[in-house]
Symmetry: D2
Subunit: 168 residues, 4 copies
């Protein structure tokens, strides 16, 4: 179990950066999700919630898996050419990208899932950029846009609950 005791936080932040995603971009999406409740909220106030989410091992494993699939597709490393084609075209009914995203949201409760559904359809900020850059461009962002939406949704939910003292 040695490799499970490792902390993959730095590793995951580096993976996200490599794919053009900064912690600040995710915090901005989380702020957007909370903006109807707290109108003068600033992105910086969401940064610590994003870090909390990124510190969860289940989230780290989802990030690593998602980015590995996007990269393997765009580098043509997948033996399954049917799957490669689905991933490179970001096929709308593929759905496994959302399944991975729900794995992240679920651990933050039912409100996180609702937040994710909203931003996944609304495609705010970095999510819109990732989505546009990854459709039939040779570049594959099929998984990462959903993962970023899920982290933002979980962070917004964490922020909404943070008057509570409870920890896991």
């Amino acid at each position: 179990m040695e490799n499970e005791e490792k902390d993959y936080l730095e590793h995951c932040i580096a993976l996200l950066e490599e794919r053009g995603v900064h912690v600040e971009d995710i915090a901005d999406c989380a702020r957007y999700l909370q903006s109807s409740y707290y109108t003068s909220l600033k992105s910086e106030e969401l940064i610590s919630s994003v870090y909390k989410v990124l510190s969860k091992r289940e989230v780290q494993f989802a990030i690593m898996t998602a980015i590995a699939l996007d990269k393997a597709a765009e580098e043509h490393l997948l033996a399954d050419k049917e799957l490669e084609s689905l991933l490179l075209s970001d096929a709308p009914l593929y759905g496994v990208d959302e399944v991975l995203a729900y794995g992240i949201c679920n651990t933050y409760g039912s409100i996180a899932l609702t937040n994710f559904g909203y931003i996944d359809k609304d495609k705010y900020g970095i999510i819109s950029k990732l989505n546009a850059a990854g459709k039939n461009t040779g570049h594959c962002n099929t998984f990462i846009d959903d993962i970023v939406g899920a982290i933002a949704a979980a962070a917004a939910s964490h922020f909404a609950h943070n008057s509570e003292e409870e920890e896991e």
Copy 2:
């Protein structure tokens, strides 16, 4: 197992009507969810998808349970007054209403869940009406607005997939 072989479709439609929700209202929400993909879609085209969803036993059981909770709260039948107070105020972090809704969406795949998250936050049509009418008015719509959103989300997802021949 006798009572499981029963068909609760008529029963559920009557329960929904009694709470002010018509099949057409749900079809209109489903149409709204599909309107960015099919701009000239009419509500009537979604009616059969709504009926498909309403015919599923898991959906029927969720509808019956949700409406029973709303009614028991507004008629002050719940022995647990803490729960009654949460339900009558439609407390935003309660979350069990969304959990029931996900039970419906899940059976229609990951896209249904995304649809639900969107309409639950956007509150289109009948969902907006139910939500407004059920907050601190003595009338309780805590569960039904989410259930209606979930049926609409599932119907929209069913419609999107319906070029397929597969059945359950």
Copy 3:
């Protein structure tokens, strides 16, 4: 939002006690779930994990809702007699009881869900007692046996992860 800031821990423990469930019973189920990994584990070592789970607001709301439904069914307070009949017979395909249970497990990650599935079928300890006492006896345990299984599964999962420092 005032009622959301309340802590329902004492309230939920009292509700569980009233239905014949003690924290120790749940800890014993959690121990059973971990016993293949830690053969000499004692129930007492799981008590603090059970309290952690019971302290989560999402869990408290699920407990309150579940017990309210069981009680309303056995006291014949539900206007919907079809639903009452399903609940009093603990109809095997009803499924909404498991949906509520998943709402608890989900917040503890995918391993908690697997644990729940196992103990829900295996019916160890108090779960077996509750299940037997609530089928066509006039007494309704349709929801509570699943809720207890979910709390035990979540506590076992919390225990398995507790070398980690992370909190929510």
Copy 4:
């Protein structure tokens, strides 16, 4: 959307065969899950339920993704060596394999999830073989054992419901 209209059933059966899994093995797991309810049930009676499950597009996409990850790990094609190490050791808290499996089970309702939890812990038949053959052997079965369990759980649930006429 052309590639979405394709039917991947043959493709998925070929992928499973290549990994040592036959439709009959999955049907035997499904039979095992139903054996406490129908004691004289034969595997052959579950074959058509397994085919029903395998015909669902969401299931096909999950199978393709799962097998692609197992193969990429064992062929050392993943750039992320941390992820490779987690997959090759089948790290128990990784959890993304179960998340993919739930994506399959969810579409068959809450009873399918319970079935999965049971067989994932009990490891009957082919699941036990896959699990044993894929831990630190150079061969990677981290995803496929869970996917097979999920298909069996869904098929068992489909069989249990099949007195119903409803289709999706």
